[in-house]
Amino acid sequence: MTENSKEVELQSSAINSEHEYDGGLRVANLDAVKDPGLEPHRVRMTDKSVKHEKAAVRQVSLLFAVSMIGSAFALWAYFTFPLSENLSTVRLNTLYLGVGMTLGLMGIGIGAVHWAKTLMPDNEVSEERHLTRGSDEKRAAAIEILNAANQESGFTRRKLIRRTLYGSLALFPLPGIILLADLGPNPGDSLRHTFWKKGTRLAKDPTGIEIKASDITIGSVFQIIPSGLNPENKEYLEEKAKAAVLLVRVDPSELNETEERKGWSYQGIVAYSKICTHVGCPVALYEQQTHHLLCPCHQSTFDLVNGCKVIFGPAARPLPQLPITVDSEGYLIAQSDFLEPVGPSFWDRSVKS
C-alpha cells in the first residue's frame, strides 16, 4: 500500500466516525448552525513589514545574548562569592548565582518563544483525525495472530497447563512479599512500656538536670525526660518519643483529681505524657490562665486540672498521667511507669497482655 492510499483510508474512516458509535442521550440538532470553517488568518506585523521582521530578529538575538551574559555572570559569581563562616556569604552566593542562572534560562526561553511567535509561520493547519480503534482489517489480522498463538501454544486447549500456570503465577510473588516481613520486628509489648520505672527521677529536657519539687513555682511548666535517658542510649529518640512528659505546678485547690489518682500528684505538681493521644505530636503549648494544653498539630486541647480530658479537637482520650512523688532528697520521682500505653491510639491498646 502506498502512503497516499493510506491517507485516503484514514480520512474516510475519520469522516465515518460519527456513524459508527451510539451517541447515547445525545440529541442530534438537525437545524444546527453550519460550521463556517476556520477563521481567516490574521497577518502579523512581522509578515507585513520588513522593518518589524528585522526588529524581531534583533529582539530574538538580543534575548539569546542576554542568556549568554547571564550564564557567564553565574560562572563569575560562583568564583566571586565563595562561602565562609560568615552566613551572609550564603545570601550573596545564592543571589548572584541565581540571578545569573535565571537570565541564562529565561533568555533562551523567551527568545525561542518570541522567535516562534513572530517569525515562524502562524497559519493554523487542520488535519483529519482517525478513529482510535484499528480498522476492521487490522482487527481481523490481530485476532488471527491471537488465534494462531493460541493454536500453536494450546493455551485454551490444554487446561492443565493453563491452570497450573495461573497457580504458579499467583504463588510466585508471595516469597517476595514475605521477605518484607523483616523490615521491622513484631511490636510486641514495646508500645506499652516506657523508660519510666518506680523511682526514676524527673529530669529537665534536654539538659538532663534532675529536678526538685522545691524548684517548681506555681504556674511554671517544664519539659521532662526520665533521668538517665541521654543521647548515649541506643534507643534515645524512641524512648524519648514515649517518655516525654510535661510537668506543671498549679494551686492544689484547683486540681480536680479522681479518687484513685489522689496520690499521683505532689502538692499541685502534675506530670502528664506530652505525646498527643491523637496521632502523637508533642502537646507543647500550655495556657497558664486556663490550664489548657494544646497540641499545635491538630489543635486537640486537654484540660490539665481535670485529668487532661479532651475538651476540643480530634483526640479522643485524656493524656496519660505519670504518677509522681518525691524521694528523701526532695527530687521528684516516678511512682511507676505509665499505667496505660502513651501516644496515639492503636487497635489493641486496652487489651491486657
Binding site: 440529541v27 548565582l97 525561542a112 487542520s126 489543635q299 489493641d348
Partner: protein
C-alpha cells in the same frame, strides 16, 4: 532563498551525520511521522507541560542534592558553620542537609530549586487535571489516560512527601510522627505496619534511608513510566482542541511540531526552569536551619505541611471530638479512620469520574473537541463541588493560623470549617450550575438576537428599542457549537424488566440534563434576523420620513 544556499552539501558533516543516524535508528521514518504533527494552541494546554518540565527540573536539581546528602539517621554533634546549632545533636541526614545549605556553593539555591519545583509540580499537575475535567477532555477515548494522569498526581504527592521528610528536621519529623499515628490507628495491622515502616519503634534508625530509596528510585521511576504511557496515549489520541469554527471531533487544528512547537515548547521548558530559578533565588522555602533536627519532644506552633498534603492534614483536624470508640477491649480510632476513608473515597471518585459520566450519557462516540465549562453545567458544578470540598479541607489545615492572624477563636474557626465542609460544596454546586445555565442563556440570547449595538432608537409610535446587530459567523458558531444531551426514562430491557441500573441511570440523566439549554438553531436565528431586519426597515423609514 538563503535556505537553499545554507543547505548542507551532499557529503557535508550534517548530511553524513543524518545518514549515519538514519541507517542505525531509522530516524527519517520517525521524523517523517512526527515532525509535522499538529498541536493545538491554547494557554490552558501548557499546565500539563509545566508539570512535566517541573519534573525534569526536579530530576536535575535532585541529582545534584544526592551528591552531597547522606540519608543516615546516625546521631552526630553538629560541627558546621551555622553557629546557632553548634554542638547540637542531630542525624547525619540533617547535618548533610545543613552542609548543602551552608557549605556547598549554590547548595541552598539548588535545595530551593528542588523544593519550589516540587511545589510547582504538584500544583501544575492538579491544575492540569482541573483543566482536563472542566473541558471534558477525559471523555472517550481518553478515559484511561485520565486514570494514568490520576496515578501520576498521586505519585507526585508521594514523591513530595517522601522528599519532604528527608532533611530529618523538626517539622518533617513531626510529619512522619503524624503518619505513624495514622498508621497505628488502622485496625488489626496498624502497629505491625508502623513497625515495618520504621524498622521498630518510631522514629527508629532506618526510615529516612527507606524513604530516600523510595524518593530517588522507586517513585521517580514510576513517574517516568506513567509519564511515558501518558504521552504515548497523547500521541495515539492526538491532542484535543477547543470547539469552535473549523474545529470538530473529526479534525485537529494547530501548528506543526517542527519548527513551531519545538521552539515554543522547548523555549517554554527554559521559561518554567527560569521562573523556578528566580523564585528560588529570592524566596526562601523550608528554612530547615530554623527548625533544628528532629526531636520527639519539641514542636513549634503553627506547624504546616507542604501545601499538597494540607487537605489530608485538614481532614484530620476537622474530625469532631469523640469519634473513637471501643468494641470490647479493642479501640476503633474513628477520628483517624473517618478522615482517611473520606479522603480515599474522594480520590476514588476523582479516578472513576469519566466512567460515571460516560455511563450516564451513553455517548460512545469519540470526543476531541473540548467543551466550554458552561456548556456542561452539571459536570462543571460537580467539579466546583469537588474543588470546594478540597479547598475547605485545605483551609482546615490552617485553622490555627487563621485564628491567630484574624484574631478569632480557634474553636469557632474549626466549627465554621466543619460546617463549611458540608454546606459550601452543596452551595458551590447550585451556584455554579445556575451561573453556567445563565451564561448559556446569555449566549443563546446573543446568538439568536445578535449583539447589542448601543444604538437606541425611538419608533414613530413612541417605543424605544435598542438595535441588535447580527454576529459574524465565526463568533456565532463559537456560541452554538456544543453537544446537547437530554434525560432518558428508565426503559425496560429485552426481558421486559426495568433494572435497578436503568432506574439509576435515568435519574442520573435527569440530574445531569434536565435543565439543559439547547443550542440555538438556524430557524431561531433566521426568525430573529428577520425580525431585526423588519425593525431596521421601520427605523430607516422613520428616519426618511422625518427628513
Amino acid at each position: 532563498m538563503s535556505i537553499v544556499k545554507e543547505a548542507p552539501k551532499k557529503n557535508g558533516f550534517l548530511a553524513g551525520t543524518a545518514n549515519y543516524v538514519d541507517e542505525r535508528v531509522g530516524a527519517a521514518g520517525i521524523l517523517k511521522e512526527f515532525g509535522r504533527k499538529i498541536f493545538p494552541d491554547h494557554w490552558s494546554f501548557m499546565l500539563g507541560e509545566v508539570a512535566m518540565y517541573s519534573f525534569f527540573v526536579l530530576l536535575l536539581s535532585g541529582t545534584f542534592l544526592t551528591f552531597f546528602y547522606d540519608p543516615s539517621m546516625a546521631m552526630v554533634r553538629y560541627d558546621g558553620v551555622y553557629a546557632p546549632l553548634k554542638d547540637s545533636l542531630m542525624s547525619k541526614a540533617y547535618e548533610t542537609s545543613l552542609n548543602i545549605t551552608f557549605e556547598v556553593r549554590g547548595g541552598l539555591l539548588m535545595r530551593q530549586v528542588h523544593h519550589w519545583s516540587a511545589l510547582l509540580f504538584v500544583a501544575a499537575a492538579g491544575l492540569h487535571m482541573l483543566r482536563v475535567f472542566f473541558t471534558g477532555a477525559f471523555r472517550k477515548p481518553r478515559e484511561l489516560n485520565w486514570v494514568v494522569g490520576f496515578v501520576l498526581f498521586i505519585l507526585s504527592m508521594a514523591a513530595g512527601f517522601t522528599g519532604y521528610s528527608l532533611p530529618d528536621d523538626l517539622l518533617s519529623g513531626n510529619g512522619l510522627r503524624i503518619i505513624d499515628g495514622m498508621i497505628k490507628g488502622v485496625p488489626f495491622i496498624g502497629t505491625n505496619i508502623s513497625s515495618l515502616l520504621f524498622g521498630g519503634e518510631f522514629p527508629g534508625h532506618v526510615v529516612i534511608g527507606r524513604l530516600y530509596a523510595l524518593h530517588i528510585m522507586l517513585i521517580p521511576a514510576l513517574i517516568l513510566v506513567f509519564l511515558a504511557v501518558h504521552l504515548f496515549m497523547l500521541i495515539i489520541h492526538k491532542h484535543t482542541h477547543y470547539s469552535g469554527p473549523g474545529k470538530s471531533d473529526t479534525n485537529i487544528v494547530g501548528y506543526p511540531l517542527m519548527p513551531v512547537y519545538v521552539a515554543k515548547a522547548g523555549g517554554f521548558f527554559f521559561i518554567v526552569f527560569g521562573v523556578i530559578m528566580v523564585i528560588s533565588t529570592f524566596f526562601t522555602i523550608n528554612p530547615i536551619w530554623n527548625y533544628g533536627g528532629y526531636d520527639p519532644s519539641p514542636v513549634s506552633a503553627g506547624t504546616q505541611p507542604d501545601w499538597y498534603i494540607g487537605w489530608l492534614d485538614g481532614a484530620l483536624r476537622l474530625a469532631p471530638t469523640g469519634l473513637e470508640f471501643m468494641i470490647g477491649d479493642y479501640t476503633v480510632s474513628m477520628n483517624i479512620l473517618l478522615p482517611l476513608v473520606i479522603s480515599l473515597v474522594f480520590l476514588g471518585l476523582v479516578a472513576i469520574y469519566p466512567f460515571i459520566e460516560n455511563w450516564v450519557t451513553g455517548d460512545k462516540r469519540e470526543h476531541h473537541a473540548l467543551d466550554r465549562p458552561r456548556n456542561a453545567p452539571t459536570r462543571t458544578a460537580i467539579g466546583a463541588t469537588g474543588v470546594t470540598f478540597y479547598a475547605v479541607l485545605w483551609a482546615g489545615a490552617s485553622t490555627d493560623l487563621i485564628a491567630t492572624h484574624f484574631k478569632m477563636n480557634l474553636n469557632q474557626v474549626l466549627l465554621a470549617m466543619q460546617i463549611s465542609l458540608i454546606l459550601l460544596p452543596i452551595a458551590a454546586f447550585y451556584i455554579t450550575k445556575r451561573v453556567c445555565l445563565a451564561l448559556q442563556r446569555k449566549d443563546k440570547e446573543i446568538a439568536i438576537h445578535g449583539r447589542e449595538s448601543g444604538r437606541i432608537v425611538r419608533l414613530p409610535h413612541g417605543e424605544y428599542i435598542e438595535v441588535h446587530e447580527p454576529l459574524d459567523p465565526y463568533d456565532l458558531y463559537k456560541l452554538v457549537d456544543y453537544k446537547d444531551y437530554k434525560p432518558t426514562l428508565a426503559r425496560p430491557n429485552a426481558q421486559g424488566k426495568i433494572t435497578v441500573g436503568a432506574r439509576v441511570r435515568a435519574s442520573l440523566s435527569k440530574f445531569y440534563f434536565q435543565d439543559r439549554i439547547t443550542p440555538a438553531t438556524q430557524a431561531e436565528i433566521a426568525e430573529a434576523t428577520h425580525h431585526n431586519a423588519e425593525l431596521e426597515a421601520q427605523v430607516q423609514k422613520a428616519i426618511e420620513s422625518g427628513k
